[in-house]
């Protein structure tokens, strides 16, 4: 059953007719994930043993409510983004479209694999697949992206290594790599030092993938200098899957309460998360490049997920999981809109957004919806993850959580409304004040576009996915109770 999730993605890897195949691949896996979600809702958790070997010997894939939920988000957001950034891919990777889409497929395979695997080592394999694909995609940007990608590669590999070491330590004391069995064994006896060491290593490794402060250093440059077709894809989903893996550790690898009582992982997540929320937002305020601003905003938003996980209560986990969805959709909206604006006008600097709202009403309209959702104004999605996080904070008397989460709304408003203000309330500027684009990056095309186009609405195939994502931020917000009641609450119980 489950092979269906992955097969189309893997087998078509080397085809040269990139876009169509990539789209079918991801689209199919989105449909399959959705089907899997409904199937799990009906009949309960699905198991699939790779190669027919029964666990714990073989590698097991497990699709429960949570993994199906995250898989649906990742694949459907990816589908929309791939449609929306086709033109960017054509522009940025025109001579190697085949390998571009091949890498995109690898990336998504890796991410979906991480989501559905029930095996600790297999998770590492998929983690590395997705990371390697990610590094290579960032390298496509050339110039400064090379450096950013290289930094990401070093830090990412260290993260992978830490995770690997952690799994090794666990294997010492349990002798198994299967998640469910690990949990069973550890529930009986988890006193071994090696288990503690393993937990610590896993935490650092996944923390790096999630970009929790202070392990975030790779992220801003990677998002800023990566090609637009790449950062739009990576930003909404990549760190989310890291966060998902972290939640997985809490839910189905370590025994209930272990990461809180035996080792202060939960508290560490909580504290680092709170710091990250503030740090990310404050750093975002002072950024001039919108992509960099959104990158710092991601750090802040992921920190909110970390806070939810760190609280460890059911409500906290609901907040974290819901925010995985919310942030994926919101960030995809914002990055898509940013990519569209850059596509038709070459603008990347916050100060150049002046008056763009009139010229690109649909794109900036979606951006506005995304921004409102990020700030957390009901009934847009972002509100509800904050709402559950605040409730969870009150429930466990963690007043710092309440204050920080609410304050982050205001901070988010500061850095995002800056854009809206300039897009809608300032007069249109026909020329950018200064181009920060590295001339080598796009050469003349970019420069010429800047002067000629004077910002028109982006092409229809960019606008439609952007608008869809923007509308989704509101629709999913209104429907959040349905998701929470039917998927998340039973999923973590």
């Amino acid at each position: 059953m489950l092979a269906a999730l992955i097969a189309p993605v893997v087998t078509r890897l080397r085809y040269e007719l990139g876009f169509i195949i990539a789209l079918t691949g991801v689209g199919l896996s989105a449909i399959v994930s959705a089907w899997a979600l409904f199937h799990v809702l009906d009949t309960g958790t699905m198991h699939y043993n790779l190669g027919g070997w029964a666990p714990p010997v073989g590698i097991e894939y497990v699709v429960d409510l949570i993994s199906a939920f995250v898989a649906v988000i990742v694949t459907s957001v990816a589908t929309l983004v791939i449609i929306g950034t086709r033109r960017w891919a054509d522009r940025e990777a025109s001579d190697r479209l085949g390998s571009f889409y091949g890498l995109v497929m690898l990336l998504i395979t890796g991410l979906v694999g991480m989501i559905v695997t029930g095996d600790l080592f297999n998770l590492f394999v998929f983690l590395e697949i997705s990371s390697l694909a990610g590094y290579s995609l960032i390298f496509l940007g050339g110039g400064r992206a090379m450096l950013a990608g290289f930094r990401y590669l070093i830090l990412g590999s260290i993260g992978g290594l830490f995770y690997m070491l952690g799994v090794g330590f666990l294997y010492f004391s349990t002798g198994t790599l299967n998640m469910a069995e690990t949990q069973d064994l550890l529930t009986n006896d988890a006193t071994a030092r090696s288990v503690q060491a393993g937990a610590a290593f896993i935490f650092v490794g996944l923390g790096l993938k999630m970009a929790i402060v202070p392990l975030h250093l790779w992220l801003p440059d990677a998002y800023t200098f990566a090609p637009s077709s790449v950062n739009t894809l990576i930003a909404p989903i990549m760190t989310k899957v890291g966060a998902y893996a972290m939640i997985r550790m809490f839910l189905s690898v370590f025994p209930d309460g272990y990461l809180k009582d035996a080792l202060p992982v939960a508290d560490a997540l909580l504290v680092l998360g709170l710091i990250g929320i503030i740090f990310g937002s404050v750093a975002a305020m002072s950024q001039k490049d919108i992509r960099r601003m959104l990158a710092y905003s991601s750090i802040s938003q992921i920190a909110l997920i970390a806070v939810g996980v760190g609280l460890g209560t059911p409500l906290g986990l609901v907040a974290a999981l819901l925010h995985i969805m919310n942030h994926a959709v919101m960030k995809a909206t914002l990055f898509m809109a940013t990519a569209s604006v850059r596509f038709s006008s070459g603008i990347t600097q916050v100060s150049d957004f002046s008056g763009i709202g009139r010229r690109m009403p649909l794109t900036m309209g979606s951006f506005t919806l995304g921004a409102i959702a990020m700030v957390g104004i009901p009934p847009a999605t972002g509100f509800f993850s904050k709402w559950y996080a605040v409730q969870a904070g009150i429930e466990s008397s963690q007043w710092a959580v309440v204050v920080v989460v609410l304050a982050s709304s205001l901070l988010t408003a500061v850095y995002l409304f800056r854009i809206l203000e300039s897009a809608y309330l300032h007069p249109l500027k026909l020329e950018p004040s200064h181009s920060h684009e590295n001339p080598e990056e796009f050469g003349e095309t970019e420069q010429k576009l800047t002067f000629e186009a004077a910002a028109r609405e982006a092409p229809i195939d960019m606008v439609v996915p952007t608008v869809l994502l923007g509308v989704a931020t509101v629709v999913l917000g209104v429907l959040n109770a349905v998701i929470v009641i039917h998927i998340l609450e039973p999923g973590i119980a």
């Binding site: 009901p378 429930e395 408003a413």
Partner: protein, 505 residues
Amino acid sequence: MIETYSSTTPLIVVLLPVAAALLVLLTGERFRNVRDSWSTIAALAMVAVVASMLPDVLAGRVPQTTLIELSPGIDIALRADSAGMIFGLLASCLWVLASVYAVGYMRAEHEQKQTRFFTAYALALAAAAGVAFSANLLTFVLFYELLSLVTFPLVTHRETEAAIVAGRKYLAYTLSGGLLLIAATAWVHMLGIDGTFVAGGLLADETISKTTSWALLALLMVGVGVKSAVMPLHGWLPSAMVAPTPVSALLHAVAVVKAGVFGVVRVLVFVFGAELLREMNAWQVIAIFAAATLLIGSILALRHDNLKRRLAYSTISHLSYIVLGVALLGPIALTGALLHIVGHGVTKITLFFVAGAINAQTHKENVSQLDGIGRQMPITMGAFTLAALSMAGIPPFVLFTSKFYLGWGAAEVDQQIFMMIYLISGVLAAGYLFPVVYRAFWKSSTDHMVYGEADMRMVAPLAITGVLALFLGIAPNLPFSFFDLASEVARTAFDQGIPITWGAE
């Protein structure tokens, strides 16, 4: 006995302005006459729909729309209870006039981006209707936040540096207030308490610690205190004066600050209830803040030469009349406070309409420039005079009626000092408005320009509201039974058998 029944009518009230906003947006600048008629049509329809619920509500049958769950166990629910009806009726009636006025004003001033303006204006009304009819805390927070958001483009409409700064200030204040409400709402739910509003207080029968109830009260009151501009949370209101005059009318009379004081009613009467507040000894604290604002607002109004700014401080003062009236925790004072919401809405919108009409016609905005204007714009200044008399609380104007009940209510709970404060502030109101009338009619103009009345679309609405300020004072039950609604709220809130009736004293 109050019973609720399921009905879609409250939802329709909220959706009507949304529909208007969409139609305005789709019609666009090219067919501006069509576009501008949508608002008025929707406003009239809204009045009709709200009024259609009136007989049922007065008979104790309350229509309620329950939509989907917004969070597990918490629905979006709209309920047109008597308190909500007061605000809903006031907002929709004033919208009819404001929509006509706005067309006249925006065209006379050649304002830019009118489509955006009318869209946001209609959306603000939808949010206000939502605030009015919210049946529980979360729904209230939802619409309260939306109201802040959709009024932002209105405040910054002129897109000047000052407008943008004012807009930032406005958002910073109102969003912070909203966040406190969110925290309080989450807290109430985490205590396992249903957030549905109950006349007499949803917390009344719950056992919660003193610290918790004080913390909740502080969060909620600061949250709604921002929009009701209780000092020291009033800073945004005078700066928001940079917006076009119809926006000031919306902020001051129709929707925004009224949503704030309406929130105060909801928080004090429907969340806490009189008994709990007396037990906590909390009402004195609120009353002192309100009384201070009331006096300081009036005194500051005296100092300002800019007419709109003077009116802004007058609003700050008058909102605290209402907050104080609610905080006194007596049925008579509450009736007075609710009437004051209506009376102040009608009166203050007249004053702003006049200020806007003068500005559109003569580009004068300071009181000291208005010498002799009364002879050139007699209808406009006539309406201003009516409103000024009402503001000062001269019988039989509407604000006399409400102040009478407020003062009586203060005496009823043996707080004569607050009655004195009401009286002093009434004198101060005369002090800051009568000189305008004096200058307009008795001094002769110093410049040689001759001005006529403004566009009919401006003059007619302001004349109507001016007359209404008198009419509602004589017959507060016509046409929409404002008095009966207010006393009904007081009756249910204080669990009194006999309602206060109009004309029986």
